[in-house]
Subunit: 220 residues, 2 copies
């Protein structure tokens, strides 16, 4: 999220995090551009009015580089800069300030679903399925209720089903990139997940690879 109003930025960040998203904030256009160039984000939320480089410039620059990360642009109601211009510059959608949080959330979700990134509708491993769009998880016919964090961790593991994901990997992708807390948090969430998706079914989908990380077998 590239947004210079700190209050707005941190409020949105908290909201999105509560749903399990992992959010980085840039307060200036130049910082934001740099971060967007360096990291493979799922989507960007970009304000138009920014110190450094403005939203249009960021869009054009990224698109010019062949970077097609979905962009949601925030435009000012009475701004002389039209919304159409935002789309012309390469944004995928726009939102007029002021806007409600739920609308932002819905638009973002739509962008992700549409996603340029080839993102399978549902992730499957054996009889375990995870649907990022609806945020539902089920084993066979039985639906499983997960918290936001639990869901994110499971989603991440499922996206790389078969591969080993290190704790560092999980931290950087599910928590923030520069997370520096106790890595033990990952172990804790693995336990929560096992208690919900494995134990009740007598299964062992989530495997510990000692010294390396965790793995979900591609076939469940």
């Amino acid at each position: 999220m590239i947004e210079d109003e700190k209050n707005l930025a941190s409020a949105l960040k908290r909201g999105l995090q509560a749903e399990g998203a992992s959010v980085d904030i840039a307060l200036t256009g130049t910082d934001g551009l740099w971060m967007a160039e360096e990291n493979p984000y799922d989507a960007l939320v970009v304000d138009i009015m920014l110190p450094g480089a403005n939203g249009f410039q960021i869009c054009e620059r990224l698109r010019g580089q062949g970077n097609w990360t979905p962009i949601l642009m925030l435009t000012a109601k009475n701004g002389e800069l039209d919304e159409a211009e935002a789309l012309d510059a390469g944004a995928d959608d726009y939102l007029t300030k002021p806007f409600s949080y739920v609308v932002l959330q819905a638009r973002l979700r739509a962008l992700l679903r549409r996603g340029v990134t080839e993102r399978p509708a549902t992730l499957v491993a054996g009889d375990l399925t995870v649907d990022p769009a609806t945020r539902r998880v089920s084993r066979g016919d039985e639906e499983i209720g997960l918290t936001a964090r639990e869901f994110s961790v499971l989603e991440y593991l499922m996206r790389r089903a078969g591969d080993v994901a290190s704790k560092r990997n999980v931290l950087e992708n599910v928590w923030d990139y520069d997370f520096d807390g106790d890595p033990n948090i990952v172990e804790v969430y693995i336990r929560y997940l096992r208690n919900k998706v494995d134990r009740p079914f007598g299964r062992k989908s989530i495997e510990t690879v000692r010294g390396a990380g965790y793995r979900i077998a591609a076939d469940g």
Copy 2:
């Protein structure tokens, strides 16, 4: 960019940045190697003549670690070190000094377009396979469980299948670069590996080359 001539380095950096690239500079071979190991760069520009470690060593070291970041090598016109050697060492392309900026730019673009040098997903030697992504090892259809250290040692040997890896090599790449413990640890792990990947199958994949190190035959 690993280049010790500050003027050249910063001139190139400015040029590349003007086109939207993001450039880090290392002035010594050792710094450069470290940075290349720690960060996922899109490409490296490496001078041959460097304080610390030279360009060849950097190439070999990175390739040995399974790091296939595209490398553009800068060679000296009258250098006794041939360009062919650069390619042998694992560079993807080379440029003879002095060169014009536009040529460098064009070569770099070509490297990026070509994309990452295709890395083999799994390492194979006869019927023995090692998959770094999933951390699975198998002989034929039988899966073999290895500990973290065992896996690392085997992976290292497999990456240079057919070549002899000295104990020093193994220590520097699997343990720390400046490991100063007892080199006997390598012998111990070779034994563990033989007990797991050879003995049960009546095979002798891991060969001792007395006075030189160990080797895994490329065909198992």
